[in-house]
């Protein structure tokens, strides 16, 4: 089930919230948690029940291993940890990377192993990574394994189940066990609605509109300068509004249940460097990669050269985590290279004026998103070629990028004004307006926020007829 759908907003969520708070009348909070687990499984298996078996098996095996690690002595615990890592890596490897691996084997060695075309289970990268990090934390003694139902709710809590934020056991379970959080709290609920409305608007109205431009642009060949830049910019804005919109909705839903879920974005496009970008973009993934990949590799403790290698490897893993394709790997590698370069050139880069650094970082990130979005290197090259096609300004191609001809054939001038104005406004929002975290901090239950939330929610509701999936569901 997706958040931005009628079935979720008008049926699932109201029913789940009503029953959840009705159950708070019972003396024991266990029933509420059990109900949330059941609702989360329903949420997960709504489109494909076969996913359920996989996630239940994954939860059961990981819980068993975590329990084993906790109870075992060092040697046996280490063995169980290795089994746990292999199990999780194997699971994600089989479902996500099997075809990629076989394709490359076939290409390099001229073999003809059969591809399986496996359906990628929803959010497998997220719940596998979350559980893997839990096992490692248990091994380090940082987390304690408790009851199975607590572990279940840690993994399955539907607001963060399929696309994060990637949360820690220690930041979630104490909240579920906090007696005060069991009961309806209007202030939390109101702020949850506020943030959910903002996120829904970002996703259903902004991101899905930009998706049309990006899809049209990436489908074109021989792009002009204007089309190349508008295509790249559209995707840059789309992925931000899509994923941050999803995360806002997740945080907002958490608030409705009195659960604080960490924010995943803090105005990433205002970053002065790629390193800073990764501290503001998909923050919980960065935190997990830093803890479970970068630091175990040695982090920055073994000199500059080793630090650079560790950074690069961490970004390579990030690229591979995002998708089973060479474009993702190269995307991760390039981000890694830029982060390494920034580390080496720290002093000279500081001398560059801040606006230039911000602008440069944004352009670099935009150019790299092209690789992330493209079906292959050929498509990425098409867009990149357009971005440097200075001899071919080609404003007329914007008509194709806007792509309204299929509905209403507006004149070219109108299409140009529409798309340029829209992207200018969105860039202003991205660079100058408060982000969702700021909006939540400043939230007060005033008439102004009430009307604003209702307008955002209603407009988003109108846009839901063009239902779409979230970009990060595929990861």
């Amino acid at each position: 089930m997706v958040f931005s759908s009628y079935v979720f907003i008008l049926a699932f969520l109201p029913v789940v919230l009503s029953v959840y708070y009705a159950l708070s009348r019972l003396e024991n909070g266990i029933y509420q948690r059990l109900f949330l687990i059941a609702a989360s499984f329903f949420f997960y298996g709504y489109y494909n029940t076969s996913y359920l078996i996989l996630i239940i098996a994954s939860i059961a095996v990981n819980y068993g291993i975590a329990l084993g690690i906790q109870k075992s002595r060092a040697k046996a615990g280490r063995l169980l940890l290795i089994i746990g890592i292999l199990f999780n890596v194997g699971l994600i490897g089989y479902f996500k990377y099997y075809d990629f691996f076989v394709e490359n084997i076939n290409a390099v060695f001229g073999c003809s192993f059969t591809l399986r075309h496996l359906l990628l289970p929803l959010g497998i990268s997220f719940f596998t990574f979350q559980q893997l990090s839990f096992l490692i934390s248990v091994w380090h003694g940082e987390e304690k394994v408790e009851r199975f139902r607590d572990y279940c709710i840690f993994v399955t809590f539907f607001p963060q189940l399929v696309a994060g934020p990637i949360v820690l056991y220690s930041e979630m379970i104490p909240q579920f066990k906090d007696e005060r959080r069991r009961f309806f709290q209007a202030d939390h609920f109101a702020s949850g609605i506020w943030l959910f409305s903002v996120g829904l608007f970002k996703k259903a109205v902004i991101a899905d509109t930009l998706a049309l431009f990006a899809d049209n642009g990436f489908g074109m060949t021989d792009l002009s300068l204007a089309a190349g830049w508008i295509t790249a910019l559209s995707y840059t804005l789309q992925i931000y509004f899509d994923f941050s919109g999803y995360s806002d909705m997740a945080v907002g839903l958490g608030k409705m249940f009195n659960i604080d879920i960490p924010f995943n974005f803090r105005s990433p496009y205002r970053s002065e460097s790629i390193s800073e970008f990764w501290r503001r973009w998909h923050i919980t993934l960065g935190r997990a990669l830093s803890t479970y990949v970068y630091k175990p590799l040695g982090g920055n403790r073994r000199g500059l050269a080793r630090t650079c290698v560790n950074l690069f490897l961490t970004f390579l893993v990030s690229g591979l985590w995002h998708g089973a394709a060479w474009t993702f790997i190269l995307w991760g590698a390039l981000h890694g290279l830029f982060v390494v370069a920034e580390r080496i050139l720290k002093q000279p880069l500081r001398k560059i004026p801040k606006p230039v650094r911000v602008c440069g970082t944004f352009l670099l990130v935009t150019a790299l998103w092209v690789l992330f979005r493209a079906d292959g290197f050929g498509q990425a090259l098409e867009v990149w070629r357009g971005m440097v096609a200075f001899g071919n300004p080609g404003i007329s191609q914007l008509d194709t990028v806007v792509g309204t001809a299929a509905y209403i054939d507006f004149p070219l001038a109108l299409d140009c004004v529409y798309i340029l104005l829209l992207e200018a406004i969105l860039l202003f929002v991205v660079f100058r307006c408060p982000n969702s975290s700021d909006l939540l901090d400043r939230f007060t239950p005033s008439r102004k926020t009430m009307v604003a939330a209702a307008v955002l929610f209603t407009v988003a509701l109108l846009c839901l007829t063009r239902e779409s999936v979230f970009i990060y569901f595929n990861f």
Partner: protein
């Protein structure tokens, strides 16, 4: 330990106010969309709004006053309804959608039978309907259903509010101000001209020279046809296609549109000419068994002259007018007597065109 809400009444009022505003907004928007009704789902308004087949076809079928329904692909979009009224009489409605699929024709026919307004149905049978491997519905599902939720979805839909109502209201305002719109835009508001593409192709963009230009650049070219087991697959599809119609609900007339001879030459080169021709005979036999009439214009002389075309398949209004004349006169009606000879003529025309334009195929 039960906890009292520290945000108390302000937050509670905020939540109630939020839902009240959303509910009020939804009601007002629904009422406004119902009153404006840009996709003609509740009532018909001719020459008022911008009409797009995807969105208005179902509403027209349900609400327009007609007794003859003409349905098909872009091959019927240029049919002149005035000429139809003059030559065939009655109250025609033509529903043409570019690249319409068999499934879509079936869904629209279901709506037509339910509306029970027509006693005659003309259905254009493009061969791709019977040869294509895919058969999907592109019409918004909620516009094909008439239940309350689908109606609500229409009233609150993205296309209605973000695309059409703003434009439609602007058009109404311009009309009230007495501002005359360009012919091309005005035509897009006419039900009689629904989907009509003649104004999109001004002089110089049609005729032999243009057709050959597009042909050489592979623009407006037809999709590739999978020739494997084509004959059998088409026969199976013909059975399924013909079974979609309820022949007791009125007179059913199928017709094969007159593609240019250049198309047929390509069909020969690409290996699907024979299957297309043979299955037409099967189609005519099966349609006759069901009491339906079939016209086959594919061997007509007009197919030899590329000046009658926009590309290899799309003919110009002059041919559309001629087809209407044939419906009135009965010319090219397939009978047991002429069925085979019509296909022979098609083969001869294709040979003749190929010989006269040998340079095109070198």
């Amino acid at each position: 330990m039960k906890r009292t809400d520290p945000g108390g009444s302000a937050s509670r009022k905020w939540i109630l106010g939020f839902f009240a505003i959303v509910l009020a907004a939804v009601l007002v928007l629904s009422a406004a969309a119902y009153a404006i009704d840009p996709f003609l789902q509740f009532r018909v308004k001719d020459n008022t709004y911008l009409l797009r087949g995807w969105f208005v076809d179902s509403g027209l079928i349900e609400n327009y006053d007609y007794d003859t329904l003409i349905i098909g692909s872009s091959m019927v979009q240029n049919f002149d309804m005035e000429l139809w009224r003059e030559k065939l009489g009655g109250k025609p409605l033509h529903i043409g959608m570019g690249a319409i699929t068999a499934k879509e024709i079936g869904r629209l026919m279901d709506l037509a039978y339910e509306a029970n307004r027509a006693d005659t149905y003309y259905v254009c049978v493009d061969q791709y309907l019977l040869s294509s491997d895919s058969d999907v519905n592109h019409f918004p599902e909620h516009l094909l259903r008439k239940d309350l939720l689908s109606r609500l979805r229409y009233l609150l839909s993205y296309e209605v509010w973000s695309r059409y109502i703003p434009v439609d209201l602007a058009l109404v305002a311009l009309d009230r101000l007495g501002i005359t719109l360009p012919e091309k835009i005005a035509a897009k508001k006419s039900i009689d001209k629904l989907g009509d593409w003649r104004l999109d192709f001004p002089p110089g963009t049609t005729g032999r020279e243009a057709v050959l230009r597009y042909y050489q650049k592979r623009e407006y070219s037809v999709s590739a046809v999978n020739t494997e087991g084509l004959d059998q697959r088409m026969k199976a599809k013909i059975d399924a296609f013909l079974d979609r119609f309820s022949y007791d609900r009125g007179k059913h007339v199928f017709f094969f549109p007159p593609y240019s001879s250049l198309f047929w030459c390509d069909a020969r080169i690409d290996g699907y000419f024979d299957a297309y021709v043979q299955t037409k005979l099967y189609f005519a036999e099966e349609a006759a068994k069901r009491g339906a009439a079939v016209y086959d214009f594919q061997g007509a002389d007009c197919t030899l002259d590329l000046d009658n075309y926009r590309d290899t398949t799309h003919y110009l209004p002059v041919v559309s007018d001629w087809i209407i004349g044939c419906f009135a006169s009965g010319d090219y009606l397939v009978t047991k007597v002429n069925a085979a000879s019509l296909q022979e003529t098609l083969k001869e025309n294709t040979d003749r065109f190929r010989n006269e334009n040998a340079d095109l195929f070198e």
